[in-house]
Symmetry: C2
DNA sequence: TCTTTTCCTGACCGTATGGTCAGGTTAAAC
DNA sequence: GTTTAACCTGACCATACGGTCAGGAAAAGA
């Protein structure tokens, strides 16, 4: 016998379906890219008729935009731990931890983000020019302060940030390659921990902060 | 007056057109992804009628496969400099130089490769499992030998390689983001040199090889 | 010169896709 | 209980895409 569920309230319905669609969309966009993704595939994965997607999201591009924005939020919040740190060992160490955790928990989101930027950021360009640029200059200053205080070597802050982004996101974006080189098996808990430790020790030593 | 050119020979025609098509395809696949690219767009960019593409390449997927294989070749040859080096400073330094140069000269190729891997390597999976795996284990052994000889710190060779790939390719795959953060302007010669130097110094110090 | 082979392309085809819409169902408001 | 507004969806449409093909042009070979 199927359970006799209480009928869902309006707001619940809306939220549940939007979440369902966004999750399915993230996966399909990550696997197929924007051009290769189809509304039908997303609908099937969400378990909803295609027309219903268009009730919640007017166009494929609207849906895609929402997916990208969601990822951007997560991306930005990863830096919170960096700010209130006394020095690079704690700050950058925590940032690496946070970004590695994102790569592990949200690999699809990371891929969609990478794809969006690779294709010239057609929908997120304004964020790059405002939010991301502000974010970057802010952290660069923080790093410069650490350098001035003698807490790390005088490296170029921008290139350090690029290195942090590249290295951590690689574990999501190129996860398939890593898995293949790992004998076709996903990284275990221990291997993820080893990856984190490797990245942290190499980068922290690389910026002279040990 | 247009120049009165000698009629092209068969082989020349074939080679010229294939090159033209492959160059256009690389660009379009990089900009739009496999799903977003259209044969018409590639044809227009190559200055040939669409039907002519299908004369040289049976299907869109065939054309794509050729593009990906071309990139893989370049990718592999970048490591030649690493092998005959006496130690990590020269070997890894040269490898970083080579890969940064690829990011600069072949950003489209790098993007196509990234896209292919991100989508689960549908056409290049066998290469990952054979050529790339062999390549990787070979370099990992080389790195272990350097460690054993006391020429660098005992880092995990696999994660070091991932870091090298990630960091260098970032300048191609996320070139648009870097350009945006650089005030909307492409990196100058001097900035590329600074990027190379930054990456090299951070990584070489990070593996204790200075 | 004549024949053969390769190269070339406008016109065409079947299919898949993003998006629409009329009409129905269900929760909320009164 | 009745009305209203939100939610839902099967059927449909216009378009764009990958791919085909018949027939012509041009180079190579005899």
């Amino acid at each position: 016998m199927t359970e006799q569920a209480r009928p869902l309230r309006r707001i619940e319905i809306r939220q549940q379906n939007e979440t369902l669609i966004l999750q399915a969309a993230e996966k399909v966009f990550a696997e197929a890219g924007f051009g290769g993704a189809t509304m039908q595939l997303i609908a099937d994965m969400a378990g909803l008729p295609k027309a219903n997607l268009h009730y919640y999201f007017a166009t494929k591009e609207d849906l895609y935009r929402r997916v990208v924005q969601n990822i951007f939020e997560i991306w930005l919040h990863a830096a919170d731990s960096m700010d209130k740190a006394p020095g690079p060992v704690e700050g950058i160490g925590a940032y690496i931890d946070a970004k590695m955790e994102i790569s592990r928990r949200h690999p699809d989101g990371s891929k969609v983000w990478a794809s969006e930027v690779m294709h010239g950021a057609p929908v997120i360009q304004d964020y790059l020019e405002t939010t991301l640029r502000d974010w970057t200059t802010g952290r660069a200053e923080l790093i410069r302060a650490w350098i001035k205080a003698g807490k790390m070597a005088p490296v170029d802050p921008e290139h350090l940030l690029y290195m942090l982004w590249a290295t951590t996101q690689h574990y999501a974006d190129f996860g398939h390659q890593i898995e293949t080189l790992n004998g076709g098996k996903p990284l275990t808990n221990a291997q993820w921990q080893a990856a984190k430790d490797s990245v942290k020790s190499m980068i922290l030593r690389g910026i002279g902060a040990v």
